[in-house]
């Protein structure tokens, strides 16, 4: 009876070899991938123009604008928190950039830089308030959401005298900034917006952080059980503030896209979009309770959303029913997602 050899039937369950198929079935985004394939097939059948290459560019654009925000929001949700201010923060970021450049008559890059600092500060404020007050993130970010909505309107009106910003299209640096945030690339005759690259990059970085770094482990830990995580030495406060900074950074990217594609920003925009980001993350397999999910899943969720909202247009359905179709498609995709996950967990 030597302790060096263990009987094969007493192997630690973490060391049990699993087949690649079973491993795949355990991935959080699997359900949403199946859902995406279903939505894709559905629209490929009912809408003639859905399969055109140019339509693909449009669908990807719609998905990317949402996906840029959905990736850090997914990370935040895995970390067990919400950010209801994310939608309006995008508008704030665009407004700050535009108004700073205009009022100071500065090169627009200066405004872009200032906007990055201020937006990150808003994110830090969310994280700081959350960890300091120990109030639920729902309350904290709801407060930030309302304050930002008011500040957007109030400041814009105070500074520019109207509710939208002045045009900055004729200012120095605008063209180069537009190239970075809002240009269009033509590949094989199809036009792709640069936001798609931003999206891919952000999802890539988020996935790398989540799966390959210590910070990624911390995110899963604080989302699973914050108390236990703290007990084993995970810096819960730093992790949560970091997650809010991630959301703020993505809001900055989206805000600059908004500004440089339309040159003028309306201060009342962005309300309601925060829910869309959360929906994309949930469709992508994130649990509302935290501790489970993936960044790639959020991308698939955003893609489903993009396909659904544009597919309805391609299918030329009666527009009166637009919102109903959108809701039904989303519900179906999420149900399918949940069903696949349950099957996968049952066989694992």
């Amino acid at each position: 009876m030597s302790g060096s050899t263990a009987a094969p039937d007493q192997l630690d369950e973490r060391l049990v070899r699993t087949s690649p198929l079973r491993k795949l079935l355990g991935r959080p985004e699997l359900g949403s991938v199946v859902g995406a394939a279903a939505v894709f097939l559905f629209f490929a059948i009912v809408a003639d123009s859905f399969l055109q290459a140019s339509s693909f560019g449009t669908v990807l654009y719609a998905a990317s604008v949402l996906g840029i925000m959905a990736a850090p929001v997914a990370l935040l949700m895995i970390g067990g928190e919400f950010d209801l201010s994310a939608g309006v923060m995008v508008t704030s970021s665009a407004l700050i950039s535009s108004m700073f450049s205009y009022q100071m008559t500065a090169n627009v890059w200066v405004g872009v830089f200032v906007s990055l600092l201020v937006t990150l500060a808003i994110g830090a404020f969310n994280g700081f308030m959350l960890t300091r007050t120990k109030l639920p993130s729902f309350i904290i970010t709801l407060g930030t959401f309302l304050m930002l909505t008011g500040l957007n309107l109030g400041f814009t009106k105070l500074i520019s005298g109207t509710v939208s910003t002045k045009a900055i299209g004729d200012m120095e640096g605008f063209d180069s900034a537009r190239a970075l945030f809002a240009s269009t690339l033509t590949l094989g005759g199809v036009e792709f917006k640069v936001t798609i690259l931003w999206w891919v990059a952000l999802v890539g970085v988020a996935t790398w952080i989540l799966l390959r770094t210590r910070f990624g482990n911390w995110i899963f830990a604080v989302g699973g059980e914050a108390g236990a995580a703290r007990a084993v030495g995970v810096p819960v406060i730093r992790t949560k503030i970091g997650l809010y900074l991630g959301v703020a950074f993505a809001a900055w990217v989206s805000g600059q896209h908004l500004l440089f594609s339309y040159d003028v920003v309306q201060s009342g925009e962005g309300v309601g979009n925060e829910l869309t980001y959360i929906i994309a993350a949930v469709i992508g397999g994130c649990l509302i309770t935290g501790g489970y999910g993936s960044a790639i899943g959020s991308a698939v969720g955003a893609f489903i959303f993009g396909m659904t909202s544009k597919g309805i247009v391609y299918a030329e359905w009666n527009p009166d029913w637009f919102k109903f179709f959108l809701g039904a498609m989303l519900l179906l995709a999420t149900l399918l997602n949940a069903w696949v996950r349950k099957r996968a967990e049952a066989t694992a």
Partner: protein, 336 residues
């Protein structure tokens, strides 16, 4: 304390970098300096010495709506001239708007201006104001209900007539298949515009609903529509900011459609001049605010009622490339 001080010092450093960068990175074109150079300081003074009456305006505007901003500007300038204490409030939910009207009645204002986007919800409270002896002028929407509710007069645009004007204009431009882009689902005025356009337009017209609070989504939706139907040769948006989104969608979709729009702003004026847009239908929001205050003043001062109680129309005025140049400066200062 030490931590606090380093924090303050770090913030100071950031501020210094920002200010330094803004001085170094000045733009020699555009910006506020250009505006200041161009704008001459104009100061307003009351032109009359009538008592300082208080008029309240309660509209169905949402937060940050550029259209209502212009209405408000017109009203404020008339108020300044007429020596009026002008109060403005708004809410896009009918119930809340009615409550705001009630507060104006409670304040015993000397005149009330109200928009009737959801007439049924406003009926009772407007009747209350009339009963309390407050003269009421309705603006923008509600030309059909205005008189029935006991208002002195209505100032605005008849949405159906405006839509019909669009249909006629599209005909004269030889358009065959048009798209009407609605950015607020359930807005009665929007439906009336598209229905009016459909009525007089000889070609076919389809409606497209988009999410007005999400600009990239508006662009992508119009793009999708133009890609799925290449025969569309005209796109009509119902608000000025959406015209620009349509222009971008047209470029990406490689469509040849002409973009036309309701309402005017600085970008639309430039768009018309550079042929990116075909025409704009202006309902002159400045007039709606200005005239409403002025008519209440005339009523208080002289018991005058313009239009003899019939609606006074402020639109539709079709603006094309020819007129756009002359209007560009006014759009920039936010009064057109």
């Amino acid at each position: 304390m030490a931590r606090v001080r380093t924090g303050v010092r770090a913030m100071g450093a950031v501020l210094a970098v920002v200010l330094g960068a803004s001085l170094v990175g000045c733009s020699s074109t555009g910006g506020k300096r250009a505006e200041e150079r161009a704008a001459a300081a104009a100061e307003g003074r009351a032109a009359v010495n009538t008592p300082r009456w208080t008029f309240a305006m309660v509209t169905h505007s949402g937060d940050g709506d550029t259209f209502w901003d212009i209405v408000q500007k017109g009203a404020e300038q008339a108020a300044l001239k007429d020596n009026i204490n002008f109060l403005y409030s708004h809410n896009d939910e009918a119930n809340q708007q009615a409550q705001l009207v009630q507060t104006a009645i409670d304040k015993k204002v000397d005149g009330l201006i109200v928009s009737l986007a959801k007439p049924d919800a406003m009926k009772a409270v407007v009747a209350k104001a009339v009963k309390a002896g407050i003269p009421v002028v309705t603006v923008n929407s509600g030309s059909a209900e205005s008189k029935e509710f006991g208002a002195l007069t209505h100032i605005g645009q008849d949405e159906t007539i405006a839509g019909e004007a669009v249909g006629d204009e599209l005909n004269s431009r030889d358009r065959k298949k048009a798209l009407c882009v609605l950015h607020e689902q359930g807005n009665v005025g929007h439906e009336q515009r598209c229905a009016g356009a459909k009525k007089t337009f000889d070609g076919t017209m389809q409606n497209l609903y988009v999410d007005g609070t999400n600009m990239p989504d508006v662009t992508a939706s119009i793009e999708a529509k133009l890609q799925s139907d290449k025969s569309i040769d005209a796109v009509v948006t119902l608000g000025a900011p959406f015209a620009d989104a349509a222009v971008q969608a047209k470029q990406t979709a490689g469509s040849k459609a002409e973009i036309d729009t309701f309402d005017l702003n600085a970008k639309v004026a430039t768009g018309l001049q550079t042929d990116k847009l075909g025409f704009a239908v202006d309902q002159q929001p400045y007039l709606q605010g200005y005239e409403a205050v002025d008519l209440l003043w005339l009523y208080r001062y002289n018991r005058n009622v313009l239009g003899g109680g019939l609606p006074v129309l402020t639109g539709p005025q079709i603006i094309t490339k020819d007129d756009a140049g002359a209007l560009a400066d006014y759009t920039k200062r936010g009064t057109r």
